[in-house]
Amino acid sequence: MSKFSILTKGLVKENPTFVLLLGMCPTLATTTSAINGLEMGLATMFVLILSNIVISLIAPVVPDKVHIPAYIVVIATFVTVLQLVMQAFTPQVYSTLGLFIPLIVVNCIVLGRAEAFAGKNGVVDSALDGIGIGIGFTLALTVIGIVREILGSGSVFGFKFIAGDGILAFVMAPGAFIVLGYLLVLFNKIAKKQ
């Protein structure tokens, strides 16, 4: 596989949210607005890239039987780094995303890439894979966030262009499920031509 296709396959062909349907919890919970979705995507991408790099380096020396716990410790370490960095520099964002920052540890996308890609490939390829999948995830979260923000509060990235209140349900929990459901339908129609 060429370097370019490793980098770009996460955007549409193997998009973690719309095709692989992984990491649903943060996808649903943090996309109340476009900016929140974007921030969650970037936070996950940070952990994804670094854990992919380290795991591809240690994979040859980790015994097969304990490789999953070893990977989880690596991922948890980078999540802790992320938590400390965010608490120091962006405390506002950290308190908005709240519980879902520590929960990146159990995001199946991160462990999934470690198991399916980083454990079997070189450092450069794994880093590119992390970047590609990370961008795909960020893109998906931002799109869901944009749709929910337009419907729920009539704005995009905080710029209000529809006066008055939106449909509040779309900012709250039910909207997350319904918007993701319809976006999946749209994705099936366009990308898979069903």
């Binding site: 948890a76 802790t80 938590q83 929960l103 159990v106 995001n107 997350a176 993701l180 999946l184 099936n188």
Partner: protein
């Protein structure tokens, strides 16, 4: 009264699945059939309660006195992974029937974010049950964990029932599978929204 508020709040008002979005992956994965949904709910209930008890004790008597709270994430996920392994071994030995009933669901629970989510919530979130904001003590944490997992089971079993009916309906091709499931969960969450403001 306070325990009663915790229970109502955790099951209906702040339902872990429909309002907090924790544990959605296994929820969508195993809610195809009522029997697997019941099995998964049972296993989750067991592990959440046990994990909350152990992580609460570790946090209060080890991490906090040593000022190591920043290690919470690493410590908790390791404890949960070890606990799930242990539960698996013990169950296999003392209750083979229960073990085979829970079967494949047990190892899956390590990566169920509901378990880590509840463990982190009870040691970090300030609750306002019964007056002023405070962290939960051990008894309240256990009640919260049990009630939360009952809420998880309730949503899961209700939805499995709906999904069994969905499977027999004529759904447009692009909606088949997950999209229609997600939209149905959305409508269910809308119904649960009616409980908000109760507590």
């Amino acid at each position: 009264m306070e325990y009663f508020l915790i229970i109502i709040s955790a099951i209906f008002v702040n339902n872990i699945l429909l309002a907090q979005f924790l544990g959605v992956c296994p929820f969508l994965g195993v809610s195809n059939k009522l029997s697997t949904a019941t099995g998964m709910s049972g296993a989750v209930c067991f592990v959440i309660t046990l994990a909350t008890l152990v992580t609460w004790l570790i946090n209060t008597y080890l991490l906090v006195p040593l000022k190591l709270e920043f290690l919470q994430t690493i410590a908790f996920i390791l404890v949960i992974a070890a606990l799930v392994q242990m539960v698996e071994i013990v169950l296999k030995k003392i209750s083979p029937a229960l073990y085979s009933a829970l079967g494949i669901f047990l190892p899956l629970i390590t990566t169920n974010c509901a378990v880590l989510g509840v463990a982190i919530t009870v040691v970090t979130k300030q609750f306002t049950f019964g007056g002023e904001a405070h962290l939960l003590n051990l008894g309240e944490s256990i009640v919260y964990a049990v009630a939360t997992s009952l809420g998880y089971g309730l949503a899961m079993i209700l939805f499995a029932g709906i999904r069994e009916h969905l499977a027999m309906n004529d759904v447009p091709k692009a909606f088949k599978g997950l999209p229609i499931a997600l939209i149905s969960v959305g409508i269910m969450a809308l119904a649960f929204l009616g409980f908000s403001g109760m507590v």
